[in-house]
Point group: C2
Chain length 141, copies 2
DNA sequence: ATAAACCTGACTAAAATAGTCAAGTATATA
DNA sequence: TATATACTTGACTATTTTAGTCAGGTTTAT
Protein backbone atom coordinates (compact mmCIF):
# COMPACT_ATOMS: atom_id res chain seq x y z
CA UNK A 1 0.00 0.00 0.00
CA UNK A 2 1.35 3.37 -0.91
CA UNK A 3 0.41 6.84 -1.91
CA UNK A 4 0.95 7.84 -5.49
CA UNK A 5 2.59 11.03 -6.61
CA UNK A 6 -0.58 12.41 -8.00
CA UNK A 7 -2.26 12.69 -4.63
CA UNK A 8 0.93 13.79 -2.99
CA UNK A 9 1.55 16.51 -5.56
CA UNK A 10 -2.04 17.69 -5.36
CA UNK A 11 -1.74 18.23 -1.63
CA UNK A 12 1.68 19.83 -1.93
CA UNK A 13 0.53 22.22 -4.59
CA UNK A 14 -2.59 23.22 -2.69
CA UNK A 15 -0.61 23.74 0.48
CA UNK A 16 1.68 26.01 -1.48
CA UNK A 17 -1.34 27.81 -2.87
CA UNK A 18 -2.91 28.19 0.56
CA UNK A 19 0.16 29.85 1.97
CA UNK A 20 -0.49 32.87 -0.21
CA UNK A 21 -3.23 35.40 0.16
CA UNK A 22 -5.97 33.84 -1.90
CA UNK A 23 -6.76 37.15 -3.54
CA UNK A 24 -3.74 37.08 -5.81
CA UNK A 25 -3.77 34.14 -8.17
CA UNK A 26 -0.72 31.89 -8.05
CA UNK A 27 0.62 30.60 -11.34
CA UNK A 28 1.34 26.94 -11.84
CA UNK A 29 4.73 27.96 -13.07
CA UNK A 30 5.59 29.34 -9.66
CA UNK A 31 4.34 26.26 -7.90
CA UNK A 32 6.27 24.11 -10.33
CA UNK A 33 9.48 25.96 -9.55
CA UNK A 34 8.98 26.12 -5.82
CA UNK A 35 7.89 22.54 -5.35
CA UNK A 36 9.88 20.90 -8.11
CA UNK A 37 6.88 19.38 -9.85
CA UNK A 38 6.59 19.12 -13.62
CA UNK A 39 4.44 21.93 -14.99
CA UNK A 40 2.64 19.67 -17.41
CA UNK A 41 1.78 17.26 -14.66
CA UNK A 42 0.53 20.09 -12.48
CA UNK A 43 -1.78 21.17 -15.25
CA UNK A 44 -3.36 17.75 -15.37
CA UNK A 45 -3.84 17.82 -11.65
CA UNK A 46 -5.26 21.32 -11.49
CA UNK A 47 -7.63 20.59 -14.30
CA UNK A 48 -9.22 18.00 -12.03
CA UNK A 49 -9.14 20.25 -9.00
CA UNK A 50 -10.95 22.92 -10.95
CA UNK A 51 -13.66 20.56 -12.14
CA UNK A 52 -14.33 19.62 -8.55
CA UNK A 53 -14.47 23.30 -7.63
CA UNK A 54 -11.60 23.21 -5.21
CA UNK A 55 -9.76 25.92 -7.08
CA UNK A 56 -10.72 28.68 -9.48
CA UNK A 57 -8.67 29.64 -12.47
CA UNK A 58 -7.85 33.14 -13.58
CA UNK A 59 -6.78 33.30 -17.18
CA UNK A 60 -4.45 35.70 -18.90
CA UNK A 61 -1.31 37.48 -17.80
CA UNK A 62 -0.88 37.55 -14.06
CA UNK A 63 -3.40 34.76 -13.95
CA UNK A 64 -3.19 31.54 -12.06
CA UNK A 65 -5.25 29.68 -9.52
CA UNK A 66 -7.05 30.69 -6.35
CA UNK A 67 -8.65 28.54 -3.71
CA UNK A 68 -12.37 28.34 -4.23
CA UNK A 69 -13.14 27.89 -0.54
CA UNK A 70 -11.56 28.73 2.78
CA UNK A 71 -8.56 26.57 3.52
CA UNK A 72 -10.41 25.41 6.60
CA UNK A 73 -13.20 23.97 4.49
CA UNK A 74 -11.01 22.02 2.13
CA UNK A 75 -10.47 18.60 3.61
CA UNK A 76 -7.92 16.14 2.35
CA UNK A 77 -10.78 13.86 1.41
CA UNK A 78 -11.93 16.42 -1.12
CA UNK A 79 -8.49 16.70 -2.62
CA UNK A 80 -7.87 13.00 -2.96
CA UNK A 81 -11.32 12.50 -4.31
CA UNK A 82 -10.76 15.15 -6.94
CA UNK A 83 -7.59 13.63 -8.33
CA UNK A 84 -8.93 10.06 -8.17
CA UNK A 85 -6.52 9.03 -5.45
CA UNK A 86 -8.65 6.40 -3.87
CA UNK A 87 -8.26 4.28 -0.79
CA UNK A 88 -9.43 1.06 -2.35
CA UNK A 89 -9.19 -1.55 0.37
CA UNK A 90 -11.88 -4.14 -0.30
CA UNK A 91 -11.27 -6.00 -3.49
CA UNK A 92 -14.20 -8.38 -3.82
CA UNK A 93 -13.79 -9.80 -7.32
CA UNK A 94 -17.09 -10.64 -8.87
CA UNK A 95 -15.65 -13.25 -11.20
CA UNK A 96 -14.10 -15.54 -8.64
CA UNK A 97 -16.41 -18.20 -7.30
CA UNK A 98 -14.19 -19.08 -4.39
CA UNK A 99 -13.00 -16.84 -1.63
CA UNK A 100 -13.31 -13.20 -2.31
CA UNK A 101 -16.46 -12.35 -4.21
CA UNK A 102 -18.41 -9.62 -2.49
CA UNK A 103 -21.67 -11.56 -2.86
CA UNK A 104 -23.60 -13.31 -0.13
CA UNK A 105 -20.39 -14.91 1.06
CA UNK A 106 -17.93 -12.26 2.00
CA UNK A 107 -14.39 -13.50 2.40
CA UNK A 108 -12.73 -13.84 5.79
CA UNK A 109 -11.15 -10.44 5.52
CA UNK A 110 -13.86 -8.31 3.97
CA UNK A 111 -14.85 -6.70 7.25
CA UNK A 112 -11.26 -5.94 8.03
CA UNK A 113 -10.69 -3.93 4.88
CA UNK A 114 -13.89 -2.08 5.45
CA UNK A 115 -12.76 -1.07 8.91
CA UNK A 116 -9.39 0.01 7.59
CA UNK A 117 -10.98 2.10 4.89
CA UNK A 118 -13.05 3.93 7.48
CA UNK A 119 -10.05 4.41 9.66
CA UNK A 120 -8.08 6.07 6.89
CA UNK A 121 -10.95 8.12 5.59
CA UNK A 122 -11.59 9.50 9.04
CA UNK A 123 -8.10 10.84 9.05
CA UNK A 124 -8.56 12.50 5.68
CA UNK A 125 -11.92 13.93 6.62
CA UNK A 126 -10.59 15.62 9.69
CA UNK A 127 -7.49 17.17 8.18
CA UNK A 128 -7.98 20.43 6.36
CA UNK A 129 -5.64 22.43 4.24
CA UNK A 130 -5.52 24.98 7.03
CA UNK A 131 -4.19 22.41 9.46
CA UNK A 132 -1.41 21.70 7.01
CA UNK A 133 -0.34 25.28 6.59
CA UNK A 134 -0.50 25.86 10.31
CA UNK A 135 1.69 22.92 11.16
CA UNK A 136 4.21 23.93 8.53
CA UNK A 137 4.34 27.46 9.96
CA UNK A 138 4.75 26.24 13.50
CA UNK A 139 7.73 24.25 12.49
CA UNK A 140 9.39 27.31 11.07
CA UNK A 141 9.26 29.34 14.28
CA UNK B 1 -3.45 4.54 -2.46
CA UNK B 2 -4.42 0.95 -2.43
CA UNK B 3 -3.62 -2.43 -1.02
CA UNK B 4 -1.93 -4.94 -3.24
CA UNK B 5 -2.97 -8.53 -3.62
CA UNK B 6 0.13 -9.79 -1.94
CA UNK B 7 -0.77 -8.33 1.42
CA UNK B 8 -4.39 -9.15 0.98
CA UNK B 9 -3.68 -12.76 0.12
CA UNK B 10 -1.26 -13.12 2.99
CA UNK B 11 -3.90 -12.05 5.45
CA UNK B 12 -6.56 -14.18 3.83
CA UNK B 13 -4.39 -17.25 3.86
CA UNK B 14 -3.35 -16.80 7.46
CA UNK B 15 -6.93 -16.22 8.52
CA UNK B 16 -7.80 -19.49 6.83
CA UNK B 17 -4.89 -21.16 8.56
CA UNK B 18 -5.90 -19.75 11.93
CA UNK B 19 -9.37 -21.16 11.66
CA UNK B 20 -7.99 -24.68 11.96
CA UNK B 21 -6.48 -26.30 14.98
CA UNK B 22 -2.87 -25.33 14.67
CA UNK B 23 -1.72 -28.83 15.52
CA UNK B 24 -2.52 -30.25 12.12
CA UNK B 25 -0.61 -28.62 9.33
CA UNK B 26 -2.68 -27.12 6.56
CA UNK B 27 -1.46 -27.58 3.01
CA UNK B 28 -1.16 -24.68 0.66
CA UNK B 29 -3.13 -26.70 -1.81
CA UNK B 30 -6.13 -26.62 0.49
CA UNK B 31 -5.81 -22.91 1.08
CA UNK B 32 -5.43 -22.37 -2.62
CA UNK B 33 -8.66 -24.24 -3.30
CA UNK B 34 -10.66 -22.70 -0.49
CA UNK B 35 -9.59 -19.13 -1.07
CA UNK B 36 -9.12 -19.18 -4.81
CA UNK B 37 -5.51 -18.06 -4.74
CA UNK B 38 -2.88 -19.40 -7.14
CA UNK B 39 -0.81 -22.12 -5.49
CA UNK B 40 2.43 -20.83 -6.93
CA UNK B 41 1.73 -17.38 -5.65
CA UNK B 42 0.89 -18.73 -2.21
CA UNK B 43 4.24 -20.46 -2.11
CA UNK B 44 6.04 -17.20 -2.70
CA UNK B 45 4.05 -15.58 0.04
CA UNK B 46 4.53 -18.37 2.56
CA UNK B 47 8.22 -18.49 1.88
CA UNK B 48 8.37 -14.98 3.23
CA UNK B 49 6.08 -15.70 6.13
CA UNK B 50 8.28 -18.57 7.12
CA UNK B 51 11.44 -16.51 7.01
CA UNK B 52 9.85 -14.03 9.37
CA UNK B 53 8.82 -16.89 11.66
CA UNK B 54 5.13 -16.27 11.42
CA UNK B 55 4.49 -19.82 10.22
CA UNK B 56 6.33 -23.09 10.46
CA UNK B 57 6.51 -25.56 7.64
CA UNK B 58 6.10 -29.30 7.88
CA UNK B 59 7.58 -31.10 4.92
CA UNK B 60 6.60 -34.34 3.34
CA UNK B 61 3.29 -36.05 2.82
CA UNK B 62 0.52 -34.69 5.04
CA UNK B 63 2.73 -31.68 5.54
CA UNK B 64 1.77 -28.09 5.33
CA UNK B 65 2.00 -24.98 7.45
CA UNK B 66 1.26 -24.21 11.07
CA UNK B 67 1.12 -20.90 12.87
CA UNK B 68 4.31 -20.28 14.76
CA UNK B 69 2.64 -18.18 17.45
CA UNK B 70 -0.78 -17.79 18.99
CA UNK B 71 -3.21 -16.08 16.67
CA UNK B 72 -3.56 -13.40 19.29
CA UNK B 73 0.12 -12.57 19.06
CA UNK B 74 0.22 -12.21 15.31
CA UNK B 75 -0.60 -8.64 14.45
CA UNK B 76 -1.36 -7.44 10.98
CA UNK B 77 1.77 -5.33 11.16
CA UNK B 78 3.83 -8.48 11.34
CA UNK B 79 2.10 -9.96 8.35
CA UNK B 80 2.41 -6.93 6.14
CA UNK B 81 5.96 -6.46 7.19
CA UNK B 82 6.80 -10.03 6.26
CA UNK B 83 5.48 -9.80 2.72
CA UNK B 84 6.97 -6.35 2.11
CA UNK B 85 3.58 -4.71 1.94
CA UNK B 86 4.62 -1.35 3.15
CA UNK B 87 2.73 1.77 4.00
CA UNK B 88 5.09 4.13 2.30
CA UNK B 89 3.66 7.57 2.86
CA UNK B 90 6.58 9.98 2.98
CA UNK B 91 8.45 10.16 -0.25
CA UNK B 92 11.28 12.56 0.33
CA UNK B 93 13.38 12.24 -2.79
CA UNK B 94 17.01 12.78 -2.08
CA UNK B 95 17.84 13.87 -5.60
CA UNK B 96 15.45 16.78 -5.91
CA UNK B 97 16.82 20.06 -4.71
CA UNK B 98 13.47 21.77 -4.60
CA UNK B 99 10.46 20.82 -2.56
CA UNK B 100 10.48 17.33 -1.28
CA UNK B 101 13.92 16.25 -0.17
CA UNK B 102 13.88 14.89 3.33
CA UNK B 103 16.93 16.95 4.29
CA UNK B 104 17.03 19.98 6.51
CA UNK B 105 14.10 21.42 4.60
CA UNK B 106 11.15 19.11 4.82
CA UNK B 107 8.44 19.85 2.34
CA UNK B 108 5.12 21.35 3.34
CA UNK B 109 3.49 18.00 3.64
CA UNK B 110 6.15 15.84 5.24
CA UNK B 111 4.58 16.01 8.68
CA UNK B 112 1.23 15.08 7.27
CA UNK B 113 2.42 11.85 5.72
CA UNK B 114 4.20 10.98 8.88
CA UNK B 115 1.02 11.40 10.86
CA UNK B 116 -0.90 9.35 8.37
CA UNK B 117 1.64 6.58 8.49
CA UNK B 118 1.31 6.41 12.24
CA UNK B 119 -2.42 6.44 12.02
CA UNK B 120 -2.47 3.46 9.68
CA UNK B 121 0.20 1.55 11.51
CA UNK B 122 -1.69 1.93 14.76
CA UNK B 123 -4.58 0.16 13.17
CA UNK B 124 -2.40 -2.68 11.98
CA UNK B 125 -0.63 -2.99 15.28
CA UNK B 126 -3.84 -3.39 17.19
CA UNK B 127 -5.50 -5.93 14.94
CA UNK B 128 -4.50 -9.51 15.49
CA UNK B 129 -5.26 -12.61 13.52
CA UNK B 130 -7.49 -13.69 16.38
CA UNK B 131 -9.65 -10.60 16.00
CA UNK B 132 -10.12 -11.49 12.38
CA UNK B 133 -11.21 -15.03 12.98
CA UNK B 134 -13.53 -13.93 15.75
CA UNK B 135 -15.27 -11.34 13.68
CA UNK B 136 -15.67 -13.79 10.84
CA UNK B 137 -17.23 -16.34 13.21
CA UNK B 138 -19.57 -13.80 14.72
CA UNK B 139 -20.95 -12.99 11.37
CA UNK B 140 -21.75 -16.59 10.71
CA UNK B 141 -23.97 -17.06 13.77
C1' DA C 1 9.58 -46.23 -4.33
C1' DT C 2 6.57 -42.72 -4.76
C1' DA C 3 3.50 -39.22 -4.18
C1' DA C 4 2.48 -35.23 -1.54
C1' DA C 5 3.99 -31.03 -0.33
C1' DC C 6 7.45 -27.72 0.55
C1' DC C 7 11.16 -24.62 -1.72
C1' DT C 8 13.53 -21.40 -4.95
C1' DG C 9 14.59 -18.44 -8.59
C1' DA C 10 13.82 -16.76 -12.97
C1' DC C 11 10.69 -15.16 -16.10
C1' DT C 12 6.66 -12.37 -18.06
C1' DA C 13 2.09 -10.25 -19.43
C1' DA C 14 -0.65 -6.74 -18.04
C1' DA C 15 -1.74 -2.78 -15.55
C1' DA C 16 -0.73 1.47 -13.28
C1' DT C 17 2.16 5.43 -12.82
C1' DA C 18 4.41 9.51 -13.87
C1' DG C 19 5.10 11.90 -16.68
C1' DT C 20 5.89 14.32 -21.85
C1' DC C 21 4.29 16.50 -26.02
C1' DA C 22 1.52 19.15 -29.01
C1' DA C 23 -1.80 22.28 -30.06
C1' DG C 24 -4.65 25.03 -28.67
C1' DT C 25 -7.72 29.39 -26.01
C1' DA C 26 -8.22 33.46 -23.08
C1' DT C 27 -6.85 37.93 -21.43
C1' DA C 28 -4.01 41.62 -19.04
C1' DT C 29 -1.02 44.97 -20.31
C1' DA C 30 2.23 47.63 -23.01
C1' DT D 1 -3.68 45.80 -31.29
C1' DA D 2 0.29 42.88 -30.52
C1' DT D 3 2.16 39.84 -27.50
C1' DA D 4 3.50 37.35 -23.74
C1' DT D 5 1.65 34.87 -20.02
C1' DA D 6 -0.85 31.34 -18.41
C1' DC D 7 -4.71 28.31 -18.50
C1' DT D 8 -6.86 23.98 -21.19
C1' DT D 9 -7.17 19.62 -23.35
C1' DG D 10 -6.13 15.28 -25.18
C1' DA D 11 -3.15 11.97 -26.82
C1' DC D 12 0.95 9.59 -26.26
C1' DT D 13 4.79 6.87 -23.87
C1' DA D 14 8.63 5.10 -20.96
C1' DT D 15 9.12 3.10 -16.67
C1' DT D 16 7.81 0.60 -12.85
C1' DT D 17 4.97 -2.38 -10.28
C1' DT D 18 1.97 -6.11 -9.86
C1' DA D 19 0.37 -10.53 -10.08
C1' DG D 20 1.21 -13.95 -11.29
C1' DT D 21 3.46 -18.45 -14.19
C1' DC D 22 6.95 -21.89 -14.97
C1' DA D 23 10.54 -25.05 -14.23
C1' DG D 24 13.15 -27.53 -11.49
C1' DG D 25 14.31 -28.81 -7.46
C1' DT D 26 14.27 -31.11 -2.02
C1' DT D 27 12.13 -33.44 1.90
C1' DT D 28 9.63 -37.04 4.13
C1' DA D 29 5.40 -40.02 5.49
C1' DT D 30 3.55 -44.11 3.94
S1 LIG E 1 -12.83 -8.28 0.25
FE1 LIG E 1 -14.96 -8.43 -0.08
S2 LIG E 1 -15.29 -10.57 -0.29
FE2 LIG E 1 -13.14 -10.41 -0.06
S1 LIG F 1 7.68 14.02 2.21
FE1 LIG F 1 9.56 14.35 3.25
S2 LIG F 1 10.29 16.18 2.40
FE2 LIG F 1 8.47 15.83 1.28
Amino acid sequence: MKLTSKGRYAVMALADLAKFDNINPVSLRDISLRQGISLDYLEQIFSKLRKKEIVQSVRGTQGGYVLNKKAKEIKLTNIFDAVDEKVKTVQCKKESKKGCNGKSTKCLTHNLWDELENHINNFFEEKSLEDLVKSSNERRI
